[in-house]
């Protein structure tokens, strides 16, 4: 063990010195992401700068992150991996790593060290810290699932909604709600508003009674919910005035508010943090792997991650990137102290176990 530690340290040092071994590198990359504003933030923050530095490289986007696990599994069965770098949420990364579909990486060796404000270097594993939830995962951003509401539909005399239970308060805030068509997050919010303490939620949710309790709570608003399944749904529903409030990713709400100028406000209470990042598929040929490693090293350094925050309101996963985020974007970050007074962290382990079971219950509840 000690031997490997020292080995690691030396490689980290050589790499830190900028000596990347010259290797045959492929000239094209297929990057997989989510499309939309998020993908274009990636394109602007690091794909374009990278191609500027390496004009021989071309990058193709595949907007398949939604089906990444299924497609990677099929590619693996076939032994023909066509993707080079895949952007997935943390729970999918854990699944992919579990199934051996994603490559385990040594973060300290692969990634560039962080540049702290005082000029010192920080080990990537310290810089990303707890956000490295899997050995295969290279986190990029922290995003949150939270609520947006129509400011012009807040009834007269009522305050703007500012806590999660306002979602259930149909009397004060009449109008439809948009919730995601899956149990994750909704069940937690329901229990929270049904009086379950925050740190007991997953214990309660693990029992049949707890699941019934959450569904019973959701029953109260079931008739007023429009269920969404694609990221673009809630912004559209809010823009159309179809719903009063709805859950979605905070970056989507940011673009509705700031870029589309819609009368929409954010409600940060009980936002659920989640991560988004890269995985490298297992079984890439040498030359493609070399190219991808080179790209990832560039794309996840301190400056690049901070640059991304200029285009979209997601928090960079590196600690050292945080001070570089433009001032006017900070207030839109889910990690901003003002916004993160009451937050949740997606419980990966719990949902890996209970996902199928609770989902069956949830779907049959929905269908009734």
């Amino acid at each position: 063990m000690t031997l490997s530690k020292t080995l690691l340290a030396t490689t980290a040092l050589t790499v830190a010195g900028g000596a990347v071994a010259a290797q045959e590198m492929a000239d094209s990359m297929t990057l997989v992401s989510w499309g939309g504003a998020y993908q274009s933030s990636q394109q602007q923050a690091y794909v374009e700068p990278y191609i500027e530095n390496n004009p021989e490289v071309s990058a193709t986007w595949d907007e398949s992150s939604n089906e990444a696990v299924a497609k990677l599994r099929a590619m693996n069965e076939a032994g023909n991996i066509t993707w080079d770098l895949v952007d997935v949420v943390a729970s999918d990364a854990i699944r992919l790593c579990d199934e051996g579909l994603a490559m385990e990486v040594d973060h300290d060796e692969l990634l560039a060290p962080g540049e702290a404000e005082d000029g010192s270097e920080v080990d990537p594993s310290d810089d990303f810290g707890d956000l490295i939830v899997s050995d295969c995962y290279i986190p990029q951003i922290v995003y949150s699932t939270t609520f947006g509401y129509r400011t012009d539909m807040v009834p007269e005399g009522a305050d703007a909604p500012d806590e999660i239970c306002d979602v259930w308060d149909l009397e004060t805030y009449p109008g439809k709600r948009a919730l995601e068509k899956r149990p994750i997050n909704n069940m937690e919010w329901a229990l929270l508003c049904d009086g379950v303490a925050k740190d007991e939620i997953y214990d309660v949710l693990a029992t049949d009674e707890g699941q019934d309790q959450a569904l019973a709570k959701l029953d109260e608003i079931k008739d007023d919910v429009i269920w969404w399944s694609a990221g673009a749904d809630t912004p559209q529903l809010l823009a159309d005035g179809e719903v009063f409030m709805g859950s979605t990713y905070n970056g989507r709400l940011y673009s509705v508010i700031e870029e589309q100028d819609q009368p929409v406000g954010m409600m940060w209470d009980a936002q659920v943090f989640d991560l988004d990042g890269w995985i490298i598929p297992e079984g890439l040929p040498e030359d493609r792997l070399a190219r991808v490693k080179d790209f990832v090293r560039f794309a996840t350094d301190t400056q690049r991650l901070a640059d991304q925050a200029e285009y979209i309101s997601y928090g960079p996963a590196r600690e050292t990137s945080a001070p570089l985020v433009p001032e006017d974007m900070k207030q839109h970050m889910p990690t901003d102290p003002e916004n993160s007074e009451n937050t949740f962290l997606y419980n990966y382990e719990f949902w890996a176990d209970y996902r199928d079971d609770i989902d069956a219950k949830f779907q049959s509840w929905l269908a009734q």
Binding site: D98, K361, S364
Partner: protein
């Protein structure tokens, strides 16, 4: 072009109903009274030959397409449906456990014996090295909640079992800490020499690991594990046992062997080391294998877990099909799922019901239009036909989103109704994200599929029939009911089955406008393919759906005849 048609000689042979040939043949009757063809052979044989040629020619024309469809379409479908019963993952990942578990009786209510846990240790260790244990966990989690994390945790904990012994061996003598020690102890001299000589730069494959002579009898368990280990790192990582510390599983095996076997007869490299260890193992701290697993996770003592593994150990399972009909394969046999987890029965019924409603609305709306098109002069009919074909040619996605724009509560229809004052601004109609939305949008999308076959049948009905009926005194209604309508029934049949078959397999439109009450079974299949990754269940649901469609197709073929389908023109 196939051979049969490109051979010009074939077609010049007289065909059976060629009047010229028949006339000639009539003049030629042989002495046994058989008719002869023009060339003097018996007519019967000639006819049979010509029939055979016709058959071959027809088949030769069809063959390329048939082959094409079989390869590009039928084979994939069959391959996919096969997944609904395939279940090799359990017996492939845990081969020894499955074997050991065969004798265990679930009804005893007790966890299995030590030999099963020993087998599990073997299997699980290898599986976690191959990263297959979590995949199996995911598979079994479909049947029993919690198995997924049980396997993931155990995969992490399974190293601890052997580490206990490894630490004690290493404390005993520092030599054990060196990778070479193991290689020299277990490997044959020839292998050692070959391995020493091997040069990584040369690009030659690593030499096969060979056990030292006598080892399999001296340390049987250790030999087996060492062999597995060496083989694995050679093929998977391209590394040599000379430079790799053996797996903790090998250490545990060594402990077992040393406690059971007498090694005093051994005289090879590291004899002293082995003798020393053999003397010391008696005092080693040890945990029985079963206890070790229970320490790792108490669920390993749960008969339910073992029952599930046992129930799913055969290579083929009915489990997915049971799930697809809201049942469950439990260790006790098939049982209904909990009331609040039943969903597929409901979805199948709903899919059927909504498809019927959609088919019926299409008949209702399509019949008058088809009638109008069939009775109008050709010039105007063709102009109106453009109105039918235009939606047909417009992207499905666009039409679906158009209906979203039309039907939503701030949508066009509601806006117009509010503007006209028919509906209050506060009481806008809910027309989307429910069954109504799906039915309207799908009726619109499938209507051309109803109109076109109806139209092609109706345009063949001579108008003189109805006029004749009327001139014989029938009223308009009677003439329509008794004369026109019966003749148009094949068109209705053709359109209905087409629309029904298309609608029960629909996926995109219900997904976008269906909300929760307007979704179909296809949406669930898509969910299992791309989100939950329960491909077996998706295949089972698909098989059932396909069976329904095939029955309908068969009925259709019996009632209407597949040749009678026409798509316009």
């Amino acid at each position: 072009m196939s051979d049969a048609t490109s051979d010009p000689n074939k077609i010049e042979a007289p065909t059976p109903d060629d009047p010229l040939a028949q006339a000639k043949a009539l003049d030629n009757v042989d002495d046994r009274g058989r008719m002869l063809a023009a060339d003097g052979t018996p007519l019967k044989r000639q006819l049979a030959k010509s029939l055979r040629i016709q058959k071959i020619r027809a088949l030769a024309l069809i063959a390329p397409l048939l082959l094409f469809v079989l390869l590009t379409f039928i084979a994939p479908i069959a391959d996919m449906l096969f997944r609904s019963v395939e279940n090799e993952i359990v017996s492939e990942t845990l081969p020894r456990t499955v074997e050991a578990l065969a004798d265990w009786d679930y009804d005893s209510g007790e966890s299995p014996g030590d030999e099963v846990y020993a087998a599990l240790y073997d299997d699980l260790f290898l599986a976690q090295e191959r990263k297959e244990h979590t995949r199996l966990g995911t598979r079994l989690n479909y049947e029993l909640t919690g198995v997924s994390s049980l396997f993931r945790r155990s995969g992490r904990g399974v190293d601890d079992i052997g580490e206990l012994y490894q630490d004690q061996f290493e404390d005993l003598n520092e030599l054990w800490e060196e990778e070479r020690t193991w290689a020299e102890l277990m490997g044959s001299d020839e292998w050692l020499a070959a391995q020493e000589a091997w040069d990584e730069e040369s690009g030659e494959p690593l030499p096969d690991f060979q056990l030292r002579e006598g080892m399999p009898t001296l340390l049987p368990e250790t030999s087996r594990q060492m062999l597995t280990f060496a083989e694995f790192i050679r093929t998977e990582d391209n590394e040599s046992p000379l430079e790799e510390e053996p797996w903790t599983r090998v250490w545990a095996a060594l402990y077992t062997d040393l406690t059971n076997k007498d090694v005093s007869g051994y005289s090879g490299p590291h004899t002293d080391l082995l003798q020393e260890a053999s003397a010391a193992v008696g005092d080693f701290e040890t945990t029985p294998i079963k206890q070790a697993f229970l320490d790792m996770d108490e669920d390993w003592g749960d008969p339910e877990v073992w029952g599930t593994i046992q129930a799913f150990s055969p290579d083929y399972t009915s489990g997915y099909f049971l799930n697809a009909v809201d049942m469950q394969k439990t260790p006790d046999g098939a049982a209904m799922r909990d009331e609040d987890e039943r969903i597929y029965g409901l979805l199948f019924k709903r899919t059927m019901f909504m498809s019927l409603v959609i088919t019926f609305s299409c008949i209702l709306l399509g019949y008058p239009v088809a009638y109008l098109l069939a009775t109008l002069p050709m010039r105007s009919a063709n102009l109106l036909m453009i109105l039918v074909l235009l939606p047909f040619w417009t992207s499905l996605l666009v039409r679906t989103s158009a209906w979203k724009v039309m039907l939503q509560s701030q949508g066009v229809i509601n806006d117009v109704l509010v503007w006209l004052g028919l509906v209050g601004d506060a009481n806008r109609l809910v027309m989307i994200n429910n069954q109504f939305g799906t039915i309207v949008a799908m009726t619109h999308i499938l209507l051309p599929f109803m109109i076109l076959p109806m139209y092609s049948v109706m345009s063949t009905i001579p108008p003189s029939y109805v006029r004749a009926a009327k001139s014989l005194g029938a009223t308009n209604v009677t003439a329509f009911r008794r004369v026109y309508f019966p003749q148009s029934v094949p068109g209705i049949g053709a359109g209905s089955i087409l629309v029904f078959i298309l609608s029960i397999g629909y996926y995109i439109t219900p997904e976008i406008v269906g909300g929760t009450t307007g979704t179909f079974i296809s949406n669930r299949i898509a969910y299992h393919i791309s989100s939950s990754l329960n491909w077996g269940l998706a295949a089972a649901l698909g098989t059932i759906l396909l069976a329904v469609v095939l029955i309908l197709y068969w009925a259709y073929d019996k009632i209407v005849g597949i040749d009678n389908v026409k798509l316009g023109g």
